[in-house]
Symmetry: C2
Subunit: 227 residues, 2 copies
């Protein structure tokens, strides 16, 4: 059955602030400062000050003047709801409409604000309940719970441990093209064979026991889940 969702009214702008604050606080852990929010949203610190006053009145964040912002339970729930919608739409665009993973973000930024929880549960069903979006980021469930193992950057993976590629930090076209070229894609199995002291580059073994060498810079942008 479908769940009633007595959501607080938030504008597009407010939802975007909340999402930015959620991400900047690494999921509600650290405090977030005004300038960081302004930079992330391409606005001015003065606008942020205005908005965080409003958001704290609505109970989705708390803040002490000059001390920074913390997201509340309610706010985190809402941020995760928006993130869920964003990522499900991204899956739809890639899986059903044949978009490439580097083309979907802007459209998902719009679609994430469509209001209808029934729509999203139907979309989730249609997509067969995906756990990750096309960039490897986990999709929160209806309760806003992310039930996937933590992702780590490949350069921090212990030598010899098998892992699966789930996400990239750099999602620019240049990097993604390079990955395409070396045949590296989401879901690839990766084991680190050796680490080269000199430049931090890695020797890795991938899917069909293919061995290749990647630079530290590349390894720093690949997110894996240890198996």
């Amino acid at each position: 059955m479908h769940k009633m969702n007595p959501m607080i009214e938030l504008s597009f702008a407010e939802e975007n602030y909340l999402k930015a604050i959620y991400h900047l606080s690494s999921g509600g852990q650290n405090m977030v400062n005004t300038n960081a929010i302004a930079e992330r949203l391409n606005t001015k610190p003065a606008s942020v000050s205005d908005m965080i006053r409003k958001l704290s009145e609505k109970g989705v964040i708390t803040y002490l003047k000059y001390q920074g912002v913390n997201i509340t339970e309610l706010g985190e729930k809402r941020a995760l709801w928006v993130i869920r919608k964003h990522r499900l739409w991204e899956v739809f665009l890639v899986e059903k409409l044949n978009f490439h993973w580097d083309e979907v973000h802007e459209i998902a930024e719009q679609l994430e604000h469509i209001h209808s929880s029934l729509l999203i549960s139907r979309l989730d069903e249609f997509l067969k309940y995906p756990k990750f979006d096309p960039h490897g980021d986990p999709i929160p469930n209806e309760e806003g719970i992310i039930s996937s193992k933590p992702r780590i950057i490949l350069s921090e993976l212990k030598k010899g441990t098998a892992s699966e590629l789930v996400s990239m930090k750099d999602t620019g076209a240049v990097f993604l093209n390079y990955l395409d070229r070396i045949g590296m894609k989401i879901g690839a199995k990766i084991t680190v064979i050796d680490t080269i002291e000199f430049d931090g580059s890695l020797e890795i073994k991938t899917d069909e026991d293919r061995v290749l060498s990647i630079s530290k810079q590349v390894a720093d942008n690949l997110l894996v889940i240890a198996k």
Copy 2:
């Protein structure tokens, strides 16, 4: 290949006004008056006066004070583009996400404002280039051309002419439930056998030579295309 679409910037509100004006003018034919727009959009005439000034400055409508509004070529094109998006999304919701036709309008009202012509051409392809939306309304093509035969109300169909049910005027749940009950749905073949003078009711023959009688009120709400 994908077509460049150098669209004028319009807000959600402006797009909704334009769509209302298009519909109220029956596709750009008659002039539209301020009060009608206000009523349709649940706003006040004063707000409409403001907005039509702005829209005429943007070149999507023309108007003379106190005389009413006419939509321009540019405005009609844009209205049809929004209508195209609305109806394609409605098809998606019904065909792919298993919504019922009477549940999709509100969601499509939101989705119709998503900006991306690539998204819409991909969606169109995914849906196999549908010609009608779930309510039987025709879907304009990328150029804004509606290439389907005119729809007429069943009570105006000549006796003996075969037709196909393509749309309902009343899309309320009560009426749609009634149609479900008498087994009448989009695509049904209908021929008028006889018209009863007394109350305007019709004897009609439907798909498998089933004969039934419907009131004038029902016939006035069924839109058909003569074959």
